[in-house]
Amino acid sequence: MNEFKQLSWQGLWKNNPALVQLLGLCPLLAVTATVTNGLGLGLATTLVLIGSNATVSIIRNLVPNEIRIPIFVMIIAAFVTVVQLLMNAYTYELYQALGIFIPLIVTNCAIIGRAEAYASKNPIGYAAFDGLMMGLGFTVVLVLLGAMRELLGYGTLFDGANLLLGDWASSLKVTIFTTDSPFLLAILPPGAFLGMGLLIAAKNLLDKRFESMFAAKQEAKVVQRARVTAET
């Protein structure tokens, strides 16, 4: 498997920052009440990850080892500021909906984790691609969790997508059912924890299924041994 394939597999599935590394749980659990919020925060995190991974990779040979962490944090903070200002300018309502969790991307352990574990040791192409894949893996989980909670809580999907994607996206909204008494548990933080647990369980279940399928295939290859002793 070449490096890019390996990075995609690690980021999206095997070493998924949200489901396996369990990093960045605070924004993950707090903002995923709807798909739009999840997608917005996921994309913002992805942008920051790509930028910070690329920058850290460029300067990796210049940074003294002793003070690398503060430098990484400052780089990440700079990118978060850029993303925050961009969101403030172009997606103002979403910016308000996500609130404190945009600046808090700085403290998302997934980002500093990738800077320390991967970007500071690898060339820029790989590092940026790693940022992209880790970010996408994170985004997918945010969107899935947001979908679960929005569907159970409000009975809709993609509500308010126009805040993120422009006016055309308001037609994306799907209403599955309407209710006078929303299922508050799904919208409140405990619902996020339960949903997260279910997602992790589902991933582990799929992993086990794949493994047993793979093992079954391996077993099918029975090696015929040559007889070396005489019969009787």
Binding site: S181, F183, L184, L185, A186, L188, P190, L194, A201
Partner: protein, 357 residues
């Protein structure tokens, strides 16, 4: 000569899980009958819905887990959970409340943790908290005792109300809640809590029409019914006295101290024991053998701590009653309690300080 050799355990009556669960259900009957008498047939409708949901959920999930579901259904544990949840929620709550709640109790709280014997939390109470957090409006629509209301809904009315929100004659739940004098009625705990918040003293709060002395009309009868069933369970050695005793003592002690300090702002111990679901909780809910503490000393601590939390949350918390929250808090503490109250093994002396392990 025939010497009878018996090795431990020396228990002569051999009961299986199904028999124990069935006896607990029988012990609930007096309380359920009184609840039906005072608060309408809604209770029975809820129980029927809950039991059906529980059995279907349990069977489906066990089938998915490739376990023997017939045996699991026959141990009645799912049915007991369903009944406990059904009698805890308002009798005229919409049908989907109890269905969601029972599904949550069986599927998420019980089976996802590994089924009977593995659940960390009490399934009925975890589901109750889930419902209370999710549907606060539906979960607080209690009706006053039937003797106080203008319309007394019968069985058909109850079925209509649970499924459509209106009785057969077209009265809405809000109208059914209205009492003879036109005031809406809360539960005793709610009434006192609101009264105290409005600056009334405890004595003035008791002047409301739903009280007879310091006891809520109807409510204390129901509590007495559960007390009777609970005492039968202790006599039949299904449960030990430690948990209910500790729990009642815990609440009574806290309430007694505060009542002596300021009788105007704090309700009496008697009020706390007979109003709300303390007796049901003490004898039937906290004594769940799976999620409660397992040593005798631990059981007393477990019960007393629940009693303490019940009093604290009832008095200073945001909700009028607190059995479910308290039981869940202490469920989390059970491993710790069990660790520190391990009984001495026979033949071993107590480990003294400083001795190597």
């Amino acid at each position: 000569m025939n010497y009878k050799l018996a090795s431990s355990p020396h228990q002569h009556v051999r009961r299986n899980t199904g028999q124990v669960m069935r006896m607990v259900i029988y012990a609930l009957i007096p309380g359920i009958l009184l609840q039906t008498w005072f608060f309408g047939f809604g209770v029975l409708v809820q129980i029927a819905l809950a039991v059906i949901t529980a059995v279907v959920t349990e069977a489906t999930i066990l089938e998915m887990r490739k376990r023997n579901f017939e045996r699991a259904i026959k141990d009645y544990s799912a049915i007991l959970t369903a009944i406990l949840l059904a009698i805890s929620i308002p009798p005229f709550a919409p049908w989907w409340v109890i269905v969601i709640g029972t599904f949550f109790a069986i599927a998420m709280v019980k089976q996802l943790y590994g089924g009977l014997g593995f659940n960390v939390f009490n399934p009925a109470m975890a589901a109750y908290v889930m419902l209370l957090v999710s549907f606060p409006v539906q979960m607080t629509q209690w009706l006053p005792a039937q003797s106080l209301t203008t319309h007394q809904p019968g069985l058909i009315d109850a079925i209509y109300a649970v499924f459509t929100g209106f009785s057969a004659d077209g009265f809405s739940l809000a109208q059914l809640q209205g009492a003879a004098d036109g005031h809406t009625m809360a539960t005793p705990l709610d009434a006192i809590k609101t009264g105290l918040a409005q600056g009334l003293t405890y004595e003035e709060g008791l002047q409301s029409a739903i009280f007879d002395g310091s006891l809520g009309i109807g409510w204390w009868w129901v509590s007495a019914g559960y007390l009777l069933g609970g005492l039968y369970l202790i006599r039949a050695k299904i449960i030990n006295w430690h948990i209910p005793g500790g729990m009642l003592a815990g609440t009574a002690l806290c309430a007694g101290v505060m009542f002596l300090i300021d009788a105007d702002r704090f309700a009496s111990p008697l009020f706390h024991i007979f109003n709300g679901s303390l007796l049901l909780g003490a004898f039937f809910i906290a004594t769940d053998p799976v999620s409660a503490s397992t040593t005798n000393k631990g059981r007393i601590i477990f019960g007393a701590a629940i009693g303490f939390w019940v009093y604290v949350i009832r008095t200073w918390g945001g909700y009028p009653d607190a059995i479910a929250f308290s039981v869940l808090i202490m469920n989390m503490a059970v491993p710790l309690i069990d660790y520190y109250t391990r009984p001495r093994t026979y033949g071993h002396t107590k480990r003294t300080k400083g001795e190597p392990k």
